[in-house]
């Protein structure tokens, strides 16, 4: 499509402020209005999360010796993979500690925020057809993407300012104003890069789910690349936008120039996004829609087959992701074994835990995180029928001979089997790539057992989600709190030494941490019973409530 240059059109666009960008200002205000709750929640969560950890450090590591011990713990390929480059450890004071342990993790969150924000204001609008209404007004071709990008950049800058001001005023040793300014800017720069990534992915596919999925996959890949680079001490970290943010060594060396890489990448990606958007029609993707079968297969038209078809993409995507995740941690097992043995302090600490080996505790820690990722799948799968309901697609299906329990149950069955499949795939990948490198007999099956032990916790997660769908459908997104809580306790529980009751609140806290702890049936059976109760409750609630209609 090329612009037609009749005089009338020229005059209109001139008045509205420049051709393809006409209407950007109005749309920006509109986007801001739509995000008036979302943006403050993101900003508050990210800032408070950082402040909480920063404020906890002086109590956790009051003496230089303790900070030295913490640095020694981190100085292993596995420790560095989870945190950041080893150079931070050279002067491990509160500032560099914060930057080392938190920056990589928080930038993932900022990346998620930025990708979702861009996709929400561009591709989601197109997919729902609302963009068509907007574009029919005096709005230029690039205005929606431009407004979404400006909004996301502004939110990232606001986050940088909030982090700078709040961290700087904490007055913690080593957390300097200069360092805080760079620390905040590193978040923003990485976030802006991922906004650029999303500007490209929203052009490629017709679906916002696919577009944000691709964007989030890039965020995840950026984290994995820097993890690999940092753990090996290689230059691979320089291939990742998250790596660039960490290479600023905020609070330690305070280099600003790596952020130029972030900004240059963001500018290039945004330009690519704008260029690609001119090569497609509104609402279309760059990939043409394919035709499908004119008739349904036998398998599709059974309730379970139908549910499986709707879950297929997510199921395959997650399965591949879990395999990759498990494989990416496997090779560290041998490192953990050899490198950590020399650290005397740690040996004593682990001895107090009941004589577990480094490898065992590393496996237990990895497994917690893999279980959280599997729980993400479980929540997505269990909430799927809810989105079928609110989009109006459940109505014609429930007007057939399919019962409500049968319909919800078939989706739930996918979640109840899919979740365990995810954690077992990750366990299998970890065991297959890790166990042969370590001289410990029976480790392969111990890893599988460690993974299997999380299955009841995944079922409880599904149970909570389905209970919400059955009784409080509008609040069903609260099921995500289970995952967020388990993730926070799993990731920060070790860094911040949470008290026991905090992890006991989460179903994941009751799982025996194999191979550090022995296998125990009781908690698993209790969790399974709770899950069964919640599922029965959810199905009962769904059978007696009104279906939500459009």
């Amino acid at each position: 499509m090329t612009a037609t240059a009749t005089p009338a059109v020229g005059r209109t666009t001139e008045r509205a402020g420049g051709g393809a960008l006409a209407g950007t200002g109005v749309l920006l205000r509109f986007d801001l209005r739509r995000d008036r709750v979302r943006v403050p929640v993101w900003l508050a969560a990210l800032t408070l999360g950082t402040l909480w950890v920063a404020a906890a450090f002086p109590q956790l590591y009051p003496t230089a010796a303790e900070r030295q011990a913490a640095a020694a713990t981190m100085n292993s390929p596995a420790g560095l993979a989870f945190t950041g480059p080893a150079h931070y450890l050279s002067d491990y004071y509160y500032g560099s500690m914060l930057s080392h342990q938190m920056l990589g993790f928080m930038v993932i969150m900022v990346g998620i925020m930025s990708v979702l924000m861009v996709a929400r204001h561009t591709r989601t609008e197109e997919e729902t057809g609302r963009a068509e209404l907007v574009r029919a007004a005096v709005v230029g071709r690039h205005a929606q993407l431009a407004a979404a990008l400006i909004l996301t950049v502004a939110v990232n800058i606001a986050l940088a300012l909030l982090l700078t001001l709040s961290l700087g005023s904490l007055g913690i040793g080593g957390v300097t104003w200069a360092g805080s300014l760079l620390y905040g800017a590193a978040h923003a720069a990485a976030g802006i890069t991922f906004a650029g990534v999303a500007a490209v992915t929203v052009q490629i596919t017709e679906h916002s789910r696919g577009a944000s999925g691709m964007g989030l996959a890039v965020v995840g890949a950026a984290y994995l690349v820097r993890a690999a680079g940092d753990s090996a001490g290689s230059g691979l970290s320089w291939a990742s936008p998250i790596g660039w943010a960490q290479q600023t060594f905020a609070y330690l060396d305070n280099h600003w120039w790596p952020l130029l890489l972030n900004l240059a990448a963001a500018a290039a990606l945004a330009a690519l996004g704008f260029a690609l958007s001119t090569r497609r029609d509104l609402g279309a993707g760059l990939r043409a829609a394919r035709r499908g079968r004119p008739e349904a297969s036998r398998a599709l038209t059974t309730p379970l087959g139908f549910a499986l078809r709707l879950h297929r993409g997510m199921l395959i995507g997650f399965a591949v992701g879990m395999l990759v995740l498990g494989m990416s941690y496997g090779p560290f097992l041998a490192d953990v074994e050899t490198k950590l043995q020399s650290v005397e302090v740690l040996k004593e600490a682990l001895a107090q835990l009941g004589g577990a080996t480094f490898v065992d505790s590393f496996i237990a820690m990895i497994m917690t995180l893999l279980a959280v990722v599997a729980a993400i799948y479980v929540v997505i799968a269990t909430l799927r029928p809810r989105s079928e309901e609110s989009s109006g697609r459940a109505e014609p299906v429930l007007a057939t001979g399919l019962s409500r329990a049968g319909w919800l149950g078939s989706h739930l069955a996918v979640a109840l089997v899919g979740g365990p499949v995810m954690i077992l795939l990750a366990g299998l990948a970890l065991a297959a790539t890790g166990a042969p490198t370590v001289d410990e007999s029976g480790l392969f099956w111990e890893i599988i057992a460690a993974a299997a032990a999380y299955i009841p916790a995944l079922w409880v997660t599904a149970g909570l989600a389905v209970a919400l769908v059955g009784w409080f459908p509008r609040a069903s997104a609260l099921a995500w709190l289970v995952v967020v809580y388990a993730g926070v306790v799993g990731y920060f529980g070790t860094i911040l030494r949470f008290p026991g009751w905090m992890s006991n609140l989460s179903p994941f806290g009751h799982i025996p941490r194999i191979p550090v702890e022995g296998f125990s049936w009781t908690p698993l059976l209790v969790l399974t019973a709770i899950a069964a109760g919640l599922i029965a409750l959810g199905l009962y609630g769904f059978r007696r409530r009104d279906l939500e209609t459009k």
């Binding site: 679906h207 038209t301 109006g392 014609p396 429930l398 007007a399 057939t400």
Partner: protein, 312 residues
């Protein structure tokens, strides 16, 4: 059984909104029943109660001899449903969606399915996301009509169909009627209802305000009369039931209530009728009559500067 649907005193509230406020509706077996009313009157809510998708707050509802809420699964294989706003699965083709809905209901007639796809000129190999609104509607119509349902619940089924397809739809419903099936047709396309329906119920603010055959309803409302007469007509305005009389030289035009038609014509014949045309009330006029006072109330409210009496 002679009654397919029997509803009495049905109440359904959503929070403080009373969507259905003591609705009574009877649909006889084998009839096409027009269900008329403006947006928001409660047509879709009624149909969703019949589908067991919404639960009635009070009142009794019987459909095909069962309770639509408690016996939903047993009743659904005997009925077909076309929603007014069809949402399809973006990754499934239209053909797959038709087969899915048909087989979940308990089986569909392959030959009939293919015939309907042909008649409605539908491409079943396109993915759900690529269909236009009219084509999504066709998918739902084909899925509903591709098997022998006893009862068809159609909620503004032709919204988005082009006039050609509208004709095809009317033919297909006519065939269903000939085959003795019962149809509840919610609509605000009056021509469609006039053509298809045996009986009509008019819903307003969650209540049925009028129900009956079109002939009965017309009897209750005004007929427009135009006549050429030999002399100038006098005394017409004083007759009971005569409205809006326009009397010219040798020409007269007025509306008269059904009950007073006979008297008016007698009076007119005294002036020597040369030509006479009468227009039976159209459904538009029937509906406007029932909503007329509401429109008047809206005007009054606007004049007072308040909008609280305004409903969509």
């Amino acid at each position: 059984m002679t009654t397919a649907i029997a509803i009495s005193g049905l109440v359904k509230t959503f929070g403080s909104t009373r969507a259905l406020d003591g609705l009574d509706l009877t649909v006889n077996t084998g009839e096409v029943h027009g269900f008329l009313g403006p947006n928001g009157a409660g047509k879709s809510t009624t149909i969703r109660v019949l589908l067991g998708i919404l639960r009635a707050d009070s009142g009794s509802v019987t459909m095909l001899g069962g309770d639509p809420w408690a016996d939903a699964v047993a009743l659904h294989p005997r009925l077909a449903y076309v929603p007014g706003d069809v949402e399809l699965w973006p990754g499934l083709t239209g053909g797959e969606a038709i087969d899915l809905l048909g087989r979940l209901r308990g089986g569909l007639d392959r030959r009939r399915r293919d015939e309907l796809i042909e008649r409605f000129d539908l491409d079943p190999s396109k993915k759900g996301r690529t269909y236009s609104k009219g084509n999504r509607q066709k998918v739902a119509i084909v899925a509903a009509l591709a098997f022998e349902a006893e009862l068809l619940l159609l909620d503004e089924p032709t919204a988005g169909l082009d006039p050609l397809m509208e004709v095809v739809f009317q033919d297909v419903i006519g065939e269903a009627k000939a085959a003795g099936r019962t149809v509840l047709l919610s609509s605000h396309i009056l021509a469609q209802v006039e053509k298809l329906a045996d009986r009509v119920s008019i819903i307003r603010l969650g209540k049925i305000v009028q129900s009956g055959t079109l002939a009965e309803m017309r009897h209750l409302t005004r007929t427009t009369i135009e006549a050429d007469t030999a002399g100038r007509v006098t005394g017409l305005e004083q007759l009971p039931g005569v409205h809006d009389a326009e009397v010219g030289d040798g020409r007269v035009r007025f509306a008269v209530d059904g009950a007073h038609l006979d008297g008016a014509i007698r009076h007119l014949s005294g002036f020597g009728i040369r030509a006479l045309t009468s227009h039976p009330p159209t459904l538009e006029e029937l509906m406007l009559r029932h909503y007329g006072d509401e429109l008047a109330a809206e005007h009054a409210a606007e004049h007072q500067g308040t909008r609280q009496a305004v409903r969509k």
